[in-house]
Amino acid sequence: MVKVLLWGSLRTHTDGQAEVEVEARTFKEVLDRLAEAYPGLRPQIERGVSMAIDGRIYREAWFTEIKPDSEVVVMPYMTGG
């Protein structure tokens, strides 16, 4: 299980939990498990999210490995100038 930190407004879809646990070993599995467990997150996940894994931000990276003790933070998909 990895702990996944969600940003504040997503918590309305996770019964108010800021941090949820999912069984996942990769970026993609985190998103799939989140969407299954919390269908309210699905629209945001489909629009795109970034994910910070141990401080490094990934935008799309399905196979990026996640260790059980990794810090995983879901972030909005980022664009720049």
Partner: protein
């Protein structure tokens, strides 16, 4: 070869100030920008725009226009279908209005004619019947429940029930116990701020040249930050296949985020399709201001608590952003970036996006961050003044550092904020006493930086020279940086390498030039492509020498036996290997494709000295210094250039730049005369100090440097002005009438 041991690695070429490969073309007038390309038989394309801020389009009669001699095609919204994808659909509706004109300047029809005169006459002959609707251009007014509704049904699921129809997005970030934090504070300051929409202000207006043959094959030449983005969007909007549309990026005359989307390209393609002839569209400056992306206009509340010693105990902010008539989520980035410079136990930011009858926002250098950080840094400055604390000491005390849980969630790795603050503290600028009437402002700035999809091809030519093919338009000298990285990695002189930017048919997909990603991500891919080529060259040499590939190593531009056990062979240079490549297995090329991650965040600190004419409210910037962490400055000239250019854009934003709307919702200052970007005589020297705290995510430690520089000036200037006039300013720009009013109000 000690790969990736940056910090220890001694660079031979990285960090030198070499001549850029496109330089001579650009100083002789030979470089071809968007409007500089022609095609035989080309038509002039022009766009008709709504004069109303908000109006239903009842009927468009183009028959008279079509009858004008020389007019070869007229298009309206009826010619375009609406793509299924919501983002594409918004772009499609933005480039050509369908049922409603959503802002002053929204395109409603377009013509292609054999001359500028005929095109102009045709625009006048198009009859559009409008039903003018109530409009709203102010972000706070638009949030009210009874505000005119810009677009119905656009709220995302993130918006709680009960909000006004213009509210399309809501977000929230942070951690810790705010109440407890504020309870620990000796002083709490809570203020509201407003910032005007500003335009990227690139000097080159959007321009393109489109052809589309009867068989559906199309070519497009345009100025853009991303030719692949243009291909994806145009193909999607026009319903054609990506392979049939080849997009070539011209030299680009500035972008700053404003050329990360399309405005005229699908229209030009549609006109080309209808007329069967090449069509060139060049925007006028007036169209650029009215119809292309400014940044968001904002309204922000900030509350910060501080102890007498200067430790921030809690910080909170509510941000209301409007990016015009279409939904966007730029506020996400503002809400995440607002407190990024601080190590906080308790922080919370709430963001809202609201529709207004303004043009669709485009990204502008660190989109969303300057406004949020301006508001936070203003309150921090007010607290420093109230508690009689040195503003740099307070920032050093509270600075985010390695191991800090950031305000947006992740824990920071190596970051350069503390080093940057300490450099500012030690700098002669900060230690020069101010003369009477002068004041000094300080602000931090932050940007995430991105990596993204990148594809690089590197060819070893038979004469020992190197060609690098990359896919990101070069806005500020990146071809030089990419060539430098290839030369460094291969161990060949810089002038043996030539980097070109491919069209969409010649190289795989690349994300747009945005998020300060090019030197980082394209650089990374170039280094990896060079290593791929090196591996192949070592393989050839291994065969020649009859030893294992592993027994060959690459050093100083040549293959060497790896250690005494590998055998005794004289080194073979790249040139020697290249010369016999046909005999040893064929051409040698390296490739790398990646969706790059690991872009290190970037921090900057700015110092600004100024004086204010208290009788007119006019601000004069006297001295300005930028401190920024570049990770590793590949080409220091262009790193400094980014720092200086960003600073000056921020100074313009702070002092004079703004979108001004009349009561009728029309833009009043759609030109460089009254949209006042800084001119040379407005400014002092902009001094720079590059810090190099290597980014662990890049082989050479590079961090993006393009965006952070625009973030600190807003507060650095505002804090200095506030200190000069002894009145806290809460609104940007601080145009002279606004400053004089504040001075007079304080006098009573």
């Amino acid at each position: 070869m000690a790969l990736d041991s940056h910090g220890k690695r001694e660079f031979k070429q990285i960090g030198t100030r070499v001549a850029r490969p496109d330089g001579i073309d650009k100083v002789t007038g030979r470089a071809l920008y968007g409007a500089d390309m022609s095609a035989p038989g080309m038509l002039v394309g022009r766009i008709l725009r709504s004069p109303h801020a908000h109006a239903r389009i009842l009927r468009i009669d183009t028959s008279e226009a079509e009858a004008i001699p020389g007019v070869k095609a007229v298009v309206t919204g009826a010619d375009f279908s609406i793509p299924d994808d919501a983002a594409l659909a918004d772009i499609s509706v933005n480039v050509m209005a369908r049922t409603k004109a959503l802002y002053d300047g929204h395109a409603v029809a377009a013509v292609a004619a054999t001359s500028a005169q005929a095109a102009k006459a045709a625009l006048k002959a198009i009859k559009v019947e409008y039903e003018v609707l109530p409009h709203v251009t102010d972000v706070d007014a638009a949030m009210a429940p009874d505000a005119p509704v810009v677009q119905k049904g656009r709220s995302l699921e993130s918006v709680p029930a009960g909000m006004g129809a213009n509210v399309t997005h809501h977000c929230e970030f942070g951690h810790g116990d705010l109440e407890a934090g504020f309870a620990r504070a000796d002083k709490i300051v809570e203020r509201s701020f407003k910032t005007a929409a500003t335009h990227q202000g690139y000097i080159e207006p959007h321009a393109c040249l489109a052809t589309m043959n009867g068989d559906g094959r199309a070519d497009l030449w345009c100025c853009t930050q991303g030719q692949y983005m243009v291909r994806t969007v145009c193909a999607g909007v026009l319903g054609i296949e990506a392979s049939q549309l080849r997009v070539t990026a011209s030299e680009i005359g500035g972008g700053f985020g404003g050329k990360t989307t399309v405005f005229i390209e699908p229209v030009a393609l549609m006109l080309a399709k209808k007329s069967g002839k090449p069509v060139k569209i060049v925007m006028t400056r007036d169209e650029v201001f009215k119809a292309t992306g400014p940044t968001v206009s904002t309204s922000i509340d900030v509350k910060i608590g501080m102890t007498k010693a200067g430790r921030i105990t809690a910080g909170a902010a509510t941000l209301r952003y409007s990016g015009g008539a279409f939904p966007n989520t730029t506020v996400d980035m503002g809400a995440q970036a607002a407190f990024a410079a601080y190590d906080l136990d308790a922080v919370r930011t709430v963001g809202w996006n609201i529709l207004t009858n303004r043009p669709k926002e485009s990204a502008y250098r660190a989109p969303g961050a300057p406004q949020a950080i301006y508001a936070v840094e203003s309150v921090v400055d007010e607290l420093c003044l109230a508690l009689n604390l040195d503003p740099l000491d307070v920032r050093i005390l509270n600075a985010a550092r390695k191991g800090t849980k950031s305000s947006y969630g992740p824990t920071f790795d190596d970051i350069g904020l503390l080093a940057t603050l300490e450099a500012a503290k030690a700098h002669p600028h900060y230690n020069t006493p101010l003369k009477p009437g002068q004041s000094r402002g300080v602000s931090c700035g932050f940007w995430f930086n991105f990596g993204g999809n990148t594809c690089v091809s590197l060819n070893i030519n038979t004469d020992g020279t190197v060609g690098v093919t990359e896919g990101n338009p070069d806005i500020g000298g990146s071809r030089a940086s990419i060539s430098l990285m290839a030369a460094e990695e291969l161990g060949v002189p810089y002038d043996k390498v030539r980097t070109i930017i491919a069209d969409t048919a010649s190289l795989g997909y690349n994300d747009v030039t945005d998020g300060s990603r090019v030197t980082f991500a394209v650089g990374l891919a170039t280094i990896k492509a060079a290593r791929d080529a090196i591996k192949k060259m070592c393989g050839r040499v291994a065969k020649i020498w009859g030893i294992d590939e592993d027994a060959v190593e690459w050093r100083d531009g040549a293959a060497h036996p790896a250690g005494p056990n590998a055998g005794k062979f004289p080194p073979m240079t790249l040139e020697e290997i290249a010369a016999i490549s046909f005999e040893t297995g064929g051409p040698i090329a390296g490739h790398y494709e990646v969706n790059a991650d690991g872009a290190g965040v970037s921090f900057g600190v700015h110092l600004c000295d100024l004086e204010v004419d208290k009788e007119t409210g006019q601000t004069t910037i006297l001295r300005y210094t930028v401190f920024q962490d570049a990770g590793k400055a590949v080409h220091p000239d262009y790193v400094e250039g980014q720092m200086q250019g960003g600073a000056v854009q921020g100074i313009g934003w702070a002092l004079n730049e703004e979108y001004i709307y009349g009561a009728d919702g029309r833009l009043l200052n759609a030109g460089f005369l009254d949209y006042r970007i800084p001119v040379a005589s407005d400014l002092p020297k902009i001094d720079t100090q590059i810090l190099e705290i290597p980014n662990p995510g890049h082989p050479y430690g590079v961090r993006g440097v393009g965006e952070t520089g625009i973030v600190p000036p807003l507060a650095a200037v505002s804090n200095a002005v506030s200190r000069a006039i002894d009145v806290r300013m809460h609104e940007l720009p601080m145009s002279p009438p606004r400053v004089l009013k504040a001075i007079k109000a304080a006098r009573g």
